[in-house]
Amino acid sequence: MSDQVRTVKDIPGVEWVPGTGDFIRVEPERCTGCGDCARVCFGECYEIRQGVAQVRSLDRCMECGYCWYICPSDAIEFSLPRGGTGYRTNWG
């Protein structure tokens, strides 16, 4: 696992600082597997496995919170990365 600041080719102008911790989690018992979180996420952070959503990776998360807002079952536990980590941009 890299501890370097990362960039992503199809997301120019953004860097990701590692060390965020698992700041978004799915509560499997509340999840119905509807897939809305996966559908709304530009960062492709979710996948549906065996009828339950899972965070695939937070490497491209822009902390927009839309998955958390949109989940009809309140199954997303949303918090924020550790201070100074996660995405950053100068062009917002």
Partner: protein
């Protein structure tokens, strides 16, 4: 005795305004920001409406803010068959607003707060509040440090996690949240003048063009804003409107397809693309329809020991899609009330209630945050109505409201308030 009089959470647009005012009043003020630099995690279109500069704290206009461009001209381009078939240009006697980049602007604001005596701690995420019974007594950081204060001002943005942890608010319902995809392109200044004339551009089309959400699903079209040496574009939609159809089908891919289709319009392909270089592609959410939902309007913006400002408190001018002017205005009112509360040794909810009352009575809130202003975004169902509605909005309607808000139609009087002009 707590270490701080006021802890302000978030150095976005609102937080530094509140922190500066509290520090100037001699309060021991701490401003917390989770990013390494203020503005690193702030994304917006970003046209700050002139109401913010005229009716917010004067230092925002007087102390040399980092502005990209004044928005004096508006061009509404109507698109059909991949072509711009009609353009209506409006020239305004005073700017509609000013375009900025969030990162340098929020950094500038935070510096002003520090110069006024506030302590700034960056790379510090406030993860919880501390309580004594119902009273909020401070925050806990991601390092587990407890920071005590007499008042917490929650300026953390629309996720408002602390207000939720404090038991004061719930998360915003999805129908009130817009998901936006934003692009930034570098472009030489001369080419920008040549192609856009410096006009703010809004592209509108009927649903079969698929460059933005259908009428009634919350859109002001595609924004192409010319900055000094760049273009800033916004594609957004309230995906949860209209029975969540947009999510069920395509979700974010739908918004991406708007962008892809837009980049195929001849004007973009032939006039702009050859001169523009992609610099950033980002996405963000905003609670722009918070005001239109009665349940959200009913959520408190204060509690014992806590005041909630800006996006965190749902303060949006829903009709025009702005949150920066309301962030500044509510932050200043919050600072005033915090100063009064601490002077009176009373940070109870019953004392702090005056914050909510003053916010609700402010002319910007009364006029632009009213649920009655839904008209622009919900009722246009044909191209004729869209054209009429947009002309009214960008020209007479907006300017008349502006005149009412600043209580004058004498442009010279307005100009005195706004040396930037």
């Amino acid at each position: 005795m707590p270490e701080y009089d006021v802890i302000v959470v978030g150095a976005g647009f609102a937080g530094p305004v509140a922190a500066k005012k509290c520090a100037e009043a001699g309060l021991r003020t701490l401003l917390l920001e989770r990013a390494a630099q203020p503005g690193h995690k702030v994304i917006s279109s970003c046209l700050v409406p002139i109401t913010g500069f005229l009716l917010g704290p004067s230092w925002l206009r007087e102390e040399n803010p980092p502005l990209e461009r004044a928005g004096y001209g508006v061009a509404v381009h109507y698109v059909k068959g991949g072509e711009v078939f009609l353009t209506v240009k409006t020239e305004l006697a005073m700017p509609m607003g000013y375009m900025i980049y969030c990162r340098p602007f929020c950094t500038w604001e935070a510096e002003k707060a520090v110069q006024a005596g506030a302590e700034l701690r960056t790379s510090t995420t406030a993860v919880d509040v501390t309580k004594d019974g119902r009273r909020i007594t401070g925050v806990v950081t991601d390092e587990g440090e407890r920071l005590d204060s007499r008042v917490v001002i929650d300026a953390e943005g629309s996720e408002n996690l602390l207000a939720i942890k404090a038991g004061i608010r719930r998360k915003f319902p999805p129908e009130s949240i817009e998901l936006c995809l934003l692009y930034d392109f570098e472009m030489p200044q001369a080419d920008i003048e040549d192609v856009t004339g410096g006009d703010l551009e809004f592209y509108w089309a009927m649903p079969d063009e698929e460059i933005h959400a259908p009428p009634g699903e919350g859109t002001l079209g595609v924004y192409v804003f010319p900055y000094r040496q760049s273009l800033h574009l916004t594609f957004g939609q309230f995906l949860a409107m209209k029975d969540r159809k947009a999510i069920a089908s395509d979700g974010c891919k739908l918004i991406q397809s708007y962008a892809d289709n837009f980049f195929n319009i001849r004007r973009w392909r032939e006039l702009i693309a050859p001169k523009a270089k992609l610099r950033a592609r980002v996405w963000a959410t905003a609670p722009l329809y918070a005001n239109l939902d009665p349940e959200v309007r009913a959520m408190p913006v204060y509690g014992d020991g806590m005041l909630i400002v800006g996006d965190a408190g749902g303060f949006e001018t829903s009709a025009s899609g702005n949150g920066v002017d309301t962030a500044w205005i509510t932050a200043e009112i919050a600072a005033d009330v915090a100063i009064e509360a601490i002077k009176n040794n009373d940070v109870s909810a019953s004392f702090l209630e005056r914050y909510a009352q003053r916010c609700q009575a402010h002319p910007v809130m009364v006029d632009l945050c009213s649920p009655q202003r839904r008209d622009l975004t919900s009722t246009q169902h044909d191209l004729g109505q869209m054209i009429q509605g947009s002309l009214g909005y960008f020209t007479g309607d907006a300017m008349l409201r502006m005149a009412e808000l600043v209580k004058t139609t004498n442009l010279e009087d307005v100009k005195k308030l706004l040396p930037l002009l």
